[in-house]
């Protein structure tokens, strides 16, 4: 069995056997109701794209944080980290495969939100620039994988998974501009927000859904790629460092 298939089967088994991992699948459609009702009640049809994309991006990040982020740490407290390191396969590659699987599974949420919009509010999502939207979506998912790897390594290195999982969610959503574009946040938040790949992704995805032509596509897409690659690079570096530390100092015990 190829390593990716084995890792994917494991990760899918893990996601759907642990009820906690399905929280975002339950919460996202409910949040979609909140945002769509808000926009309708405020009579702001121009914010429909915001209302549709926000719950999807929030859930994508939520799953990255709560599932992908604890892949390595969960294996550690299950006593599986060292047996896995002791196998011939490169550990970082295995972790990446599992993160990619989680990210792909989280696309279910996009389907859920669309269903809520259509069945609950009679609104059929329209994407005026579908190819642009597809490209940005793929790059966003790739960037999410990169940052998930960074979180995974960080959580196991610092043993602070629970703290970070609680802390990072809403600050990231705010700075990521998932509903309110970053350039409409208070001034001091904007430069910080621009370091979060989600802020570029969410702007591009909203623009791709809107009718007017999308401007500065290359530059903005490039930022998603750059920030995603930075997350991936830092994540790989940190994970390798964690592995070296495991072997050098024995800080992650057999028991």
């Amino acid at each position: 069995m190829s390593l990716f298939v084995a890792a994917a089967r494991l990760q899918i088994g893990q996601i759907f056997s642990d009820r906690d991992y399905t929280i975002e699948l339950v919460r996202a459609p409910l949040l979609a109701v909140v945002f769509l009702a808000l926009v309708r009640q405020a009579d702001r049809p121009d914010l429909l794209a915001n209302a549709l994309l926000a719950p999807i991006l929030m859930a994508l990040f939520g799953m990255a944080l709560s599932i992908s982020g604890e892949i390595v740490d969960a294996d550690r407290w299950m006593g599986l980290l060292e047996p896995t390191i002791a196998t011939p396969v490169p550990f970082p590659r295995l972790v990446l495969h599992r993160i990619v699987t989680t990210t792909l599974v989280s696309l279910i949420i996009a389907v859920e939100v669309c269903l809520v919009s259509i069945a609950g509010f009679g609104i059929v999502p329209v994407v005026h620039h579908p190819w642009m939207f597809a490209v940005v979506a793929v790059l966003t998912l790739a960037a999410m994988v990169g940052w998930s790897l960074l979180m995974s390594a960080l959580f196991v290195a610092t043993r602070t998974a629970r703290t970070f999982q609680n802390t990072l969610s809403y600050p990231f959503m705010l700075l990521g501009g998932v509903f309110v574009p970053v350039d409409q946040l208070p001034g001091w938040m904007q430069p910080v927000g621009r370091l979060v790949f989600l802020s570029w992704s969410s702007d591009l995805l909203r623009d791709a859904m809107a009718a007017p032509p999308v401007t500065s596509v290359a530059a903005r897409t490039g930022m998603v790629v750059l920030l995603g690659a930075a997350g991936l690079g830092l994540g790989l570096l940190l994970l390798r460092r964690v592995l070296r530390r495991v072997r050098a100092t024995g800080t992650l015990g057999l028991r």
Partner: protein, 312 residues
């Protein structure tokens, strides 16, 4: 061929704000291929640290270790292909997945192709008596079943060297006996097994040779029966119903060592020669004690004796 070789293996743990801990202090050990080799020692003796170094998940501070000729540091990739490590207890399996799913996953990590992985998983599940529960979640398994599944996981890639870290820990006597039978069968198939255990009976029953370690060093390496001879060249004398008066007279005999009473009337008398054993037996029979026997010290007695000697 030598399956496992450690030369002056040392491992020091550095801890911030606390003194360094020396887990291995120049350990020398050789295990021949096809041997079942026991590692005995109290908690903190260095057994787990040694296993981790061999499994390539921990680097030594100094010295060297080789598995089937490959250095565990420089050639760790080669080592990982030929060695598997199995832990006791409840850790080391994905509890919410089935046994079959766990095995298929680990087979992929050991780079087995799909068909081989499926065949090996089926074979091992049958061998371990888990075939009819193969598709149940591991979290529904008893401790004995989990331990057999751990073993199956370790064997999935048919490794030439198997490290077992207290595999019967927490098992009831029946389950432990069953597992020991399986372990003995592994060696019969030509595999090398290194077994860390507290269980003296297990070490005596299963191991070809036993190494006693403490404070990160080897105290003794011998076949279990040979180790007993370390304490005494002859037997000890056990008797039931010997009174205090006859024991006092026996203690005066030259060549009589420790006399231990169980409190239920049984007594154990260590002797240094066959002649002394004869004298002791005579005294016992003269005093009317007829329930007497001679025996070699058990591995537990050897173990405790060696630890006491080492502490002195």
């Amino acid at each position: 061929m030598t399956a496992v070789e450690a030369i002056a293996l040392t491992r020091i743990y550095h801890q911030k704000g606390r003194p360094d801990v020396t887990a291995l202090a120049g350990l020398d050990l050789t295990v021949a291929e096809g041997e079942v080799h026991g590692l005995l020692g109290p908690n903190g003796a260095g057994k787990s640290t040694f296993m981790r170094i061999l499994a390539t998940v921990l680097l030594p501070t100094s010295g060297s270790a080789r598995v089937l000729g490959h250095d565990v540091v420089a050639d760790h990739t080669q080592v990982r292909r030929q060695l598997a490590v199995v832990f006791g207890g409840d850790r080391g399996l994905y509890p919410r997945l089935s046994a079959r799913h766990n095995l298929r996953y680990w087979a992929a990590l050991y780079r087995l192709d799909g068909r081989t992985a499926a065949r090996r998983a089926d074979e091992l599940l049958t061998e371990m008596g888990l075939a009819d529960r193969a598709d149940d979640r591991v979290e529904t398994y008893s401790t004995g079943m989990r331990q057999r599944l751990h073993l199956a996981r370790g064997l999935i890639a048919d490794p030439r060297v198997l490290l077992l870290d207290e595999p019967t820990n927490g098992l009831d006597p029946v389950a432990a006996h069953q597992l020991r039978g399986i372990i003995r069968g592994l060696a019969d198939s030509g595999r090398t097994v290194l077994l860390a255990t507290h269980d003296m009976a297990e070490a005596e029953a299963v191991c070809d040779r036993v190494t006693m370690i403490n404070h990160g060093r080897v105290i003794a390496t011998e076949a279990p029966r040979q180790l007993a001879r370390w304490i005494t060249t002859c037997e000890r004398v056990d008797a039931d119903g010997a009174g205090e008066e006859v024991l006092a007279r026996i203690k005066e005999l030259p060549g009589v060592g420790e006399v231990t009473s169980d409190g239920d009337g049984s007594v154990s008398i260590a002797v240094d020669s066959r002649e002394t054993a004869g004298l002791v037996l005579q005294r016992l029979l003269d005093s009317g004690v007829t329930s007497v026997r001679t025996a070699m010290p058990s591995l537990e007695e050897v173990y405790l004796h060696l630890l006491r000697e080492e502490a002195r």
